[in-house]
Amino acid sequence: MPKITLPAEIDNIETATDFINGILDEADCSMKAQVQLDIALDEMMSNVARYAYTSNVGDVTVSIEILDDPRRAVLTLTDEGIPYDPLQKEDPDITLSAEERKIGGLGIYIVKKSMDDMSYAFEDGKNIVTIIKNI
C-alpha cells in the first residue's frame, strides 16, 4: 500500500496532499471526490499536528489504497500520540446562528458528512483513523 511518513506538522500537510493526489490522479478519481479527500486529509492531519503529541513532534503516516466494487479510496492516518477517537467528538449544532456558533468540531463533522465511511482503532499504541470515499 502506498504510504508516506512525515513529522506531524501543519507545514507537511501540503506534501501529504500532493502524495494522495498523485495516487488519485492515477486512479482517475473524480475531481469532486479528490477535493473532498484533500479536505478530509487537511482536517485529520491538522488534528494530529495540533493535538496528538504534547511534548516533541512525532510522526504521522498517511496511506492510501484504491479498491474496487465499489471503486473507492481508503485513506488511513496513523500516529503514535495520545489516544484520541475523533468519532467520539460531539457534532456541532449547525442550526445555531453565527453569534452562537462555536468554532470547534467543524472539521471532523465535514469529514464524517463528506466521506462514505470513517472508523477509528487504537492498536499497538497507535491511533488509526480510516476513511473511505467512493470515487
Binding site: I13, E14, M31, V35, I39, D42, A98, L106, I110
Partner: protein
C-alpha cells in the same frame, strides 16, 4: 493561495485563488486584516477558489462577525464542491450567498 483585492467607496472585494485550508487560512487572515478593518462592506468572490476546509469556513465566520457590525458581507460565485461544504456545515443560514 493569493488574494486579489479591490477597494472602492468603502466596499472591499476580494478574490482568493487556490485553497483556503489549515496551511493558508492564517496568512489569509493576516493579509486581509487592515483592509477589512477599513472596509464598510465586504464582498468575497470565490470564482477562482478551488476549495476551503473548516479552517477556511472559520475564517469566513470571523469575517462575517466583523462585518455584521458594519454593512455586512456577501459571498458570491461559489462553485459546487465549496457549496456542498457550506451546505453540510449549515453555513448557508449564516452567510449571505449571491449567485
Amino acid at each position: 493561495m493569493t488574494i486579489k483585492k479591490e477597494f472602492e467607496n468603502g466596499i472591499l472585494t476580494i478574490y482568493p485563488e487556490g485553497k483556503i485550508d489549515t496551511s493558508t487560512a492564517p496568512e489569509a487572515e493576516i493579509e486581509l486584516k487592515d483592509d477589512v478593518a477599513a472596509a464598510r462592506k465586504l464582498v468575497i468572490d470565490l470564482t477562482d477558489l478551488e476549495y476551503l476546509s473548516s479552517a477556511g469556513l472559520r475564517l469566513l465566520l470571523r469575517l462575517n462577525k466583523t462585518m455584521a457590525a458594519k454593512d455586512g458581507m456577501i459571498v458570491k460565485n461559489v462553485n459546487d464542491s465549496i457549496m456542498e461544504i457550506i451546505e453540510i456545515t449549515g453555513f448557508t443560514s449564516i452567510l449571505q450567498i449571491e449567485e
